[in-house]
């Protein structure tokens, strides 16, 4: 179903590349984590629609996902100079402030966005997340590491064989140990990001569609790599006694847990 929707968006875009179809397509690609493709579609669309605020807002969100926060902020500020009540720009800048830990400024922008469109669910959810984060920051400065340690709590092997990282290889949570008991979380996170990039490239060029998972059966253990959402990577490692099907089911449960946790994080 998801593939059909993407195909439909691509078809619509190809039928009329100068239309506004590029906005939905770029947004969809962004959500799937196909950021290079999203940038290409966005920039091509902006060439045809150089004054379209919605397109700049969407492009800034792609830049934010890529990690180019400065350029994202520049675009949103330029939007706000033109339209002081642009909901997307206010929400985006609010998210940037929240990332920097400046919750007062974040809440100020998000509340302004809410005053413009009180029914916008994205604004409401962002505001709730930032309020919770602000309360947590005030109440307990060590809450984030605690969340990381307990991210997969309750799942089999949570404390030694599950790792959540972002697409750049930065650890987000979980812990990974070698069979000998040495912690290897951070180097493993960096390596799985490289594997994920290679998997994306391979699947794209060979026409396999967006990659869903990669299993690696190795001499001492089996690995299962997946992407719980467009921005994160999940690695589950178990010894070879666990059959591949069971490992896949465990990984899916861990991915659900990760998605829930990521949804609670600040923007």
């Amino acid at each position: 179903m998801m593939i059909d929707e993407l195909t439909s968006l691509v078809d619509e875009y190809l039928r009329s590349p100068r239309s506004l179809a590029f906005i939905d397509l770029a947004e969809r690609l962004r959500r799937e984590g196909r950021l290079e493709a999203a940038v290409r579609v966005a920039l091509t669309g902006l060439e045809h629609h150089p004054t379209l605020s919605a397109a700049y807002d969407m492009y800034a969100r792609i830049l934010m996902d890529i990690g180019d926060l400065d350029r994202a902020e520049t675009i949103w500020r330029e939007l706000l100079e033109r339209e002081k009540r642009h909901v997307g720009a206010l929400t985006g800048i609010g998210g940037l402030y929240a990332r920097k830990g400046d919750y007062d400024s974040a809440l100020d922008h998000l509340e302004r966005a809410l005053s413009v469109d009180p029914a916008d669910p994205a604004v409401v959810q962002a505001l709730m997340r930032v309020r919770r984060a602000a309360e947590d920051a005030e109440g307990d400065a060590t809450s984030a590491p605690a969340s990381e340690q307990t991210l997969f709590r309750g799942l089999d092997g949570a404390g030694r064989g599950m790792l959540l990282a972002d697409r750049h290889g930065q650890m987000l949570g979980g812990r990974l140990e070698t069979p000998a008991g040495d912690e290897v979380s951070e180097p493993a996170a960096a390596h799985v990001a490289s594997v994920a990039r290679e998997a994306t490239r391979t699947a794209d060029i060979l026409g396999l569609g967006p990659w869903l998972w990669l299993t690696i059966e190795a001499a001492a253990a089996n690995l299962h790599l997946s992407a719980p959402d467009g921005r994160s990577l999940l690695l589950v490692v178990r010894d070879r006694s666990m059959p591949a099907g069971r490992l896949a089911r465990l990984a899916e449960r861990a991915a659900e847990t990760a998605r829930g946790w990521l949804g609670e994080q600040v923007l």
């Binding site: 998801m2 593939i3 990974l176 140990e177 070698t178 069979p179 000998a180 040495d182 290897v184 180097p187 493993a188 390596h191 799985v192 490289s194 594997v195 290679e198 998997a199 490239r201 391979t202 699947a203 060029i205 060979l206 026409g207 396999l208 569609g209 967006p210 990659w211 869903l212 998972w213 990669l214 299993t215 690696i216 059966e217 190795a218 001499a219 001492a220 253990a221 089996n222 690995l223 690695l235 490692v237 591949a244």
Partner: protein, 116 residues
Amino acid sequence: MIASLAEALDRMTRVGGVWGALLVAADDGLVIAEAVMEGIKPAAVAALAASLARQSGIASEATGAGTPRFLHLQGAAGTLAVMSAGDGLLLIAVGSDEMNVGLARLEMLRAIEVVE
């Protein structure tokens, strides 16, 4: 051996959903033998699969899991399976998202016996 290898690759392509079967060099991804359907580019499959296998090997070693023996990349519209065939060789099966990976794997193991 060449005829046996060709037969083994051909058997792999008879598994449901398989578009192509290849034997490639692991270090540079060059094709040694292949049996692929029209439209499949063996050189691209070989190079990308070998590169993915190399990167996966580095990650696998970093986790302490050791050397990979089998990789399965599942895409929304296709499947890639890579098996170490020893002596710096990789056996590859590429196919649709409905490729029968279990059967493909069995045929890959049979093909490796021919290679060895």
